[in-house]
């Protein structure tokens, strides 16, 4: 086993570890931000500034009894949360998180920061994200409960509808960059226009970016699109019958999916790790990347506690009648411009 292989394994392990942490950090961040927005403190008793609250949550969930309803389908009930969280982790596999680095000169050859570098990376992310819906649908069906079933049905309808707009907005970026590899798309955004404005695709694709973010919120089933678990109508939606660790896996998958969405948005629209030349010079490009991802994640939480939930028919109507046509129009205009100017 040579050094390069070991370093790559280390990077993969670290990304995996950080994704597990991401869900804990996001749980805390969500409750803190929600608290500030509602003019209260949020969790503050466990540890300094409530920092150990996620740990307490996890220990509590581990101690709970694991229940399975009598009429539930044995195999699919167990499989559903596993499928959900596996798809969430796997989707991050081809997302690069930083420029090539030698770790401050420790290595002879630079390594790419990211779990895997595939030449169809954008499509791999999209393919695995689309597998995530099975976890929710199966959870809803196998629980043998009408609330769960309603949640599962809503989830599948919603995710099919918004996947179209999501993929079409991505296609416009791929056209601009002329590559399906996420790393190449990021590197196409290096540098500045007139030495001031960074060459990020968000400035060329403002509509595409907005569509991506909206569809991303719907894909991760978060408010204002959290119909699969609308508390007031469906108790808790698809995960009503779950408890203990099996229950914990669903929010974990949701938070990891959020992190993946934000990381992909950063890579494809916000120039990835480019933008702060000072950090680039010191080989700390991933710090820039983390800052941008954090900014998008904060926006996600901000939106959740600001915008009230839509009605279900409004959701489907908006997806099919506004978002999807807008993304198709965006794609056609982009294609025409790329073809005309041959950029």
């Amino acid at each position: 086993m040579d050094l390069r292989f070991a370093v790559q394994l280390g990077i993969i392990g670290f990304i995996f570890f950080m994704l597990i942490n991401a869900s804990a950090i996001l749980v805390l961040a969500e409750r803190k931000v929600m608290g500030f927005m509602q003019q209260r403190y949020g969790p503050y008793l466990v540890g300094p500034w409530g920092l150990l609250q996620p740990l307490a949550d996890i220990v509590k969930l581990l101690m709970k009894e694991e229940l399975r309803p009598k009429g539930a389908d044995r195999w699919l009930f167990t499989l559903a949360p596993i499928l959900s969280v596996t798809a969430a982790f796997a989707a991050f596999a081809t997302v690069p998180v930083g420029a090539e680095t030698t770790f401050f000169g420790l290595l002879d050859e630079p390594v790419k920061l990211g779990a895997a570098d595939v030449n169809v990376g954008v499509l791999v992310v999209f393919a695995i994200t689309s597998m995530g819906v099975y976890g929710i649908v199966l959870a809803g069906w196998s629980s043998n409960s009408k609330y769960s079933l309603m949640g599962g049905l809503r989830a599948s309808a919603q995710m099919i509808s918004y996947e179209l707009a999501y993929a079409t907005s991505l296609a416009a970026v791929i056209l601009l960059a002329g590559s399906l590899s996420i790393r190449e798309v990021v590197d196409a955004q290096a540098g500045f226009w007139w030495d001031v404005v960074p060459r990020w695709y968000v400035f060329l694709q403002p509509i595409g970016f907005i569509i991506y973010v909206i569809a991303g919120v719907a894909e991760t089933n978060r408010a204002p699109f959290d119909f699969p678990e609308a508390e007031q109508e469906l108790v808790a939606g698809y995960n009503t019958e779950y408890s203990s660790v099996r229950f914990a896996l669903f929010p974990q998958a949701e938070y990891i999916n959020m992190a993946t969405m934000s990381a992909v948005a950063t890579d494809l629209y916000l120039g990835g790790w480019h933008g702060i030349p000072l950090l680039d010079a010191y080989g700390l490009s991933w710090v820039t990347f983390l800052l941008k991802v954090g900014l998008i994640l904060f926006t996600y939480i901000w939106v959740r506690w600001t915008v009230p939930r839509y009605r279900y028919d409004q959701l489907m109507g908006f997806g099919w009648k506004w978002l999807f046509p807008a993304s198709v129009l965006n794609l056609i205009v982009t294609a025409a411009v790329v073809l005309y100017f041959n950029v």
């Binding site: 169809v120 791999v124 393919a127 079933l149 049905l153 099919i160």
Partner: protein, 178 residues
């Protein structure tokens, strides 16, 4: 060596899962096993140096079409097929139909055997100029699809459109709309 092991694992998974799809009484399990079979096929495509085809397989079949299957199965809510009634009523259980099916199956086995024997005679070079990597590159695939096979491509899309319009016409309610 490890590639051979992975190949046999994936192809074994694909075959076993496909066989089990037919054997399940619960249509929900059939759908899940079919997804597993598609996943194994995608793995085989990756081994053939065709990542784009593999990803397309996952996106289109496992990600989109099977979600629709699952949707329909869930909405129909048919957890168990009633075997006793099927035995007597279903036309496929009639004697003549069964014989015809057996004949077709035998024919298929003969054909497969013949094709496999032929395969060993052909000496196709692996790699070389037209390796899988160049054939399956997205750019090359797009060029061939919209250039050489443009007519077939457009004809197929019209065919799909006809099917969609037909489905809408068939599903539409007759009489005055409320």
């Amino acid at each position: 060596m490890s590639e051979t092991i992975i190949f046999y694992l994936l192809s074994g998974l694909a075959i076993v899962a496909s066989a089990l799809v037919i054997g399940q009484r619960n249509p929900m399990y059939s759908v899940m096993l079919l997804i597993a079979s598609f996943g194994a096929l995608a793995g085989l495509y990756i081994q053939l140096d065709a990542p784009f085809v593999a990803v397309a397989q996952i996106i289109i079949y496992a990600g989109a079409i099977m979600v629709l299957f699952l949707f329909v199965v869930m909405l129909l809510n048919a957890p168990q097929e009633d075997a006793a009634e099927w035995d007597q009523l279903h036309p496929f259980r009639q004697r003549g139909v069964a014989r015809f099916g057996a004949m077709l199956a035998a024919l298929l086995i003969v054909q497969l055997g013949w094709a496999l024997l032929k395969m060993t005679e052909l000496d196709v070079p692996v790699g070389g100029e037209t390796s899988a990597a160049t054939v399956s590159s997205v750019r090359e695939l797009g060029r061939v699809l919209f250039d050489r096979h443009a007519f077939a491509f457009e004809a197929t899309s019209i065919l799909i459109l006809v099917a969609m319009v037909g489905a809408v016409v068939l599903a539409r309610r007759e009489g005055p709309q409320s």
